[in-house]
């Protein structure tokens, strides 16, 4: 538990770090939409160049940016193989039992892997350059228009920020329970999966009891101090968007628009062909 990877966030003072968290979160959504729209070599080249540009601007090393990918290499290989062998029975290289490997399947697999690759790097850049608390505030701000539909956005934001503050506390608590179990003979370091599972499972009920005890204490304290909900809560100061934030949003919108044009235009060009 000491290896809790809180703080995927990497402190820095780069252009991307300084951008407003609302713009970064909105930018991730728009970039993901743009990635899903891509269906040509030119489109992928633009997205790769764009993501590379953001990595350079964020000051994150390429190794860190690709960190999320390393953990999923096996997953990518499986996706690629599954698509190659099962996607299409048309024009297969050969046919054996249920396997029909084809060029179409291979291309479709490559397309899925490329999209996942780009989305993963984009979200990795967001988490590396934005603190979880900033992301929560950004989320609160982005969902705030839904309050007109009756959604309690203030309450949701309160729940999220309390949840974030509870993570380190509960993680320490879990660590303490784990050590207690080890003292009683639980074998977390066993090489046998069944023994490891048998060690982990008895931890669950005490973790929940301890967490709910903390929740009870906090709710009693909040109610005793007159807290009756987040409705009408105000912020000490607003954070207006800067010129650089609007500029960044403009660039992201332009990239998305470019992908829409590339996808739906009837122009024929070798670069626009799908592989």
């Amino acid at each position: 538990m000491n290896r809790l990877p809180i703080g995927i966030y990497i402190p820095g003072d780069t252009f991307i770090h300084r951008l407003d968290s609302r713009i970064k979160l909105l930018g991730l959504f728009i970039t993901t939409a743009a990635i899903l729209l891509v269906n040509s070599i030119l489109g992928y080249s633009i997205m790769f160049a764009f993501i590379l540009g953001i990595i350079l601007l964020s000051g994150i090393s390429m190794k860190t940016a690709l960190n999320a990918i390393n953990k999923l290499l096996l997953f990518f290989v499986i996706v690629l193989l599954m698509n190659t062998f099962f996607y299409s029975p048309e024009k297969p290289w050969f046919s054996f039992w249920i396997f029909t490997p084809s060029t179409l399947g291979l291309l479709y697999g490559i397309e899925i892997v490329l999209r996942l690759f780009l989305v993963l790097i984009a979200s990795n850049i967001l988490t590396s350059t934005t603190t979880p608390m900033e992301t929560t505030h950004a989320l609160e701000s982005l969902i705030s228009p839904f309050r007109y539909l009756g959604l309690p956005t203030g309450q949701i934001a309160m729940i999220l920020s309390i949840a974030i503050q509870f993570i380190p506390t509960l993680s320490e608590e879990t660590d303490a329970i784990r050590k207690t179990q080890m003292a009683r003979g639980a074998r977390f370091d066993s090489k046998k999966i069944s023994e490891k599972a048998a060690a982990v499972l008895p931890m669950v009920v005490p973790i929940f009891l301890s967490a709910f005890k903390r929740a009870d204490d906090l709710s009693v304290a909040m109610e005793a101090r007159g807290y009756r909900g987040a409705k009408g809560r105000t912020q000490k100061k607003g954070t207006p968007l800067q010129r650089q934030d609007l500029g960044a949003l403009g660039v992201i919108f332009f990239i998305c628009l470019l992908q829409i044009v590339l996808r739906f235009s009837n122009l024929t060009h070798p670069w626009r062909s799908r592989f």
Partner: protein
């Protein structure tokens, strides 16, 4: 049953959200624990059962997102499908607990749990088949990934969740569902 205040339900939801991040890390000692033991499902189902469908829905939607934000797991590519699945768990478990009143807490819990677990898996399978992996999802792959691989997780949920609810009731951390008969 004495109703919990909105503040208490909110804090319990926050704690369940935090457990969506912490519990999978605790299970991390076991290889492939995420897909076999489904640790993130437990707080979401509990949140729905204890706090109601609105809070369960929020926990199901935000739990995986928060975990991705803090630990990078589940990966962003799997996140949407997992958010849908867990949101249905939270929503349906809360709705069922509201609708079913058999005068036995165990019966209410088990019926709600089983319906929620089935609904979540069906909706996730449909979402996969119609949106996220169109053309690549078959009944066989759905059954394997949602029932066979995760069978230990399903058994653990069915055993642990009612136990946890009763332990919380006994500890007076949540109100009893039905008033106890006095001897």
């Amino acid at each position: 049953m004495q109703e919990m205040s909105v503040v208490k339900k909110s804090i319990i939801t926050a704690v369940c959200l935090a457990l969506c991040v912490v519990l999978p890390i605790a299970f991390h000692a076991v290889p492939n624990a995420g897909s076999i033991y489904l640790p993130m499902h437990i707080p979401v189902l509990l949140c729905g059962l204890i706090c109601g469908w609105q809070f369960g829905l929020l926990c199901g939607l935000a739990g995986p997102a928060l975990s991705t934000l803090f630990t990078g797991m589940p990966p962003a590519a799997i996140l949407p499908i997992m958010m849908i699945e867990l949101a249905v768990y939270g929503l349906v478990s809360g709705l069922m607990m509201k609708l079913i009143r058999s005068k036995s807490t165990y019966v209410d819990l088990y019926i709600s749990l089983i319906i929620a677990m089935l609904s979540g898996r069906i909706v996730a399978g449909l979402a996969r088949a119609l949106i996220f992996a169109r053309g690549n999802t078959t009944i066989a792959t759905w059954t394997t990934s949602y029932f066979v691989t995760s069978l230990p997780g399903i058994i653990i949920q069915l055993v642990l969740i009612p136990t946890i609810v009763f332990a919380l009731m006994q500890a007076k951390l949540i109100p009893m569902r039905y008033p106890q008969k006095r001897a």
